[in-house]
Symmetry: C2
Subunit: 121 residues, 2 copies
DNA sequence: TTCAAATTATGTTGTTTGTTATACTGACGT
DNA sequence: ACGTCAGTATAACAAACAACATAATTTGAA
C-alpha cells in the first residue's frame, strides 16, 4: 500500500523546511497543470490509450486551438508525449504520474462521493 | 488498496461524457486549491495536527494576511476547519482528502525522486 | 481603552484562458 | 512540382483570475 503520510514533524530544521518548500513548489507546478477541467479530461481519456488531437477535440467538445494549447501545457510539464502519424498527431501519457493522481481524484470524486466513509486515520 | 484506474472506455455516451466533465470540474477546483506552494505547505503542516495562524505564518515565513488568505481559500474549499481559542484560531484538516492526495504527491516528489527526477526524461 | 490575533477590503500586478487569425506539415490530386 | 486540403501548432490579444501588499476592521482578553 501507499506510504502513509510522511512525517512532517513539528520540529523541523530550517534546511528541512527549505527542502520541503522546494518540493512543494515542484509539486504545485504539477498540480497546476492538472487543475484545469480540460486538461484533466484529456489525461483521463489518454488513460485508455493514445488519442489524436481531433479525437480529443471531439471528446471534449472544445475548439482545436484550445485543445492544442492544453496539450502543449501538458507536454511542457512532460505529462504527455506526441507521436506523428501522417497528418495526425497522437498523444499518450508519458509515464504513470498522471494515473497515480487520477486514481485518487477519481476515488474522491467519482466513487467515495457520498461522504468520507473511508477515513483512513 | 486504491482502485486501479476507472474504465474511461473508448465508447462513452454523451451522458457519461457529461458526468465526466462535471466531475472533472469539481476535481479541478480541488486541484486548484492545492496547486499553490503556500497552500500545499499549510496542508502538509496540518497533517501533524492543528496549527494557529501565527504558527503557520512562522512555518511558511509568510506574511500574516497572505497566510490568512490562503487559509481562507482552503476553508472555502472545505479542506480546513477553524477552531477559535481566545484570540488565536487553530486550523485543522477537515477530512482526509488532502492527505490522500498529499500521499501521492509526496511519493512522486519526495520519495521516487531519485529515478527520473522532475523531468519526464 | 488598548493590544494582539485574525479576517476582510482594495488596488496592483502578473498569470491563465479562450479566441481568432496565421503558419506549418504531410497527403493527395492534377 | 504545384496547389490545396486536413490536422496541428503558434501568435497575438482581450477578458477573467489569482496573488500579494497595505490598510482597515473585527474579536477577545487584559
Amino acid at each position: 500500500m501507499a506510504s502513509s503520510l510522511p512525517v512532517f514533524s513539528d520540529d523541523l530544521s530550517d534546511t528541512e523546511l527549505d527542502k520541503m518548500m522546494s518540493s512543494a513548489c515542484e509539486a504545485s507546478n504539477l498540480l497546476k497543470a492538472l487543475s484545469h477541467e480540460g486538461r484533466l479530461m484529456i489525461l483521463c481519456h489518454l488513460v485508455t490509450g493514445e488519442k489524436s488531437v481531433t479525437e480529443l477535440e471531439d471528446l471534449l467538445s472544445a475548439r482545436q486551438a484550445a485543445v492544442s494549447q492544453q496539450l502543449s501545457r501538458l507536454r511542457l510539464e512532460g505529462l504527455v508525449t506526441p507521436r506523428r502519424e501522417g497528418k495526425a498527431i497522437y498523444y499518450s501519457l508519458t509515464d504513470d504520474r498522471p494515473k497515480r493522481i487520477l486514481e485518487v481524484i477519481y476515488d474522491l470524486f467519482c466513487v467515495a462521493d457520498d461522504g468520507a466513509e473511508k477515513r483512513g486515520d
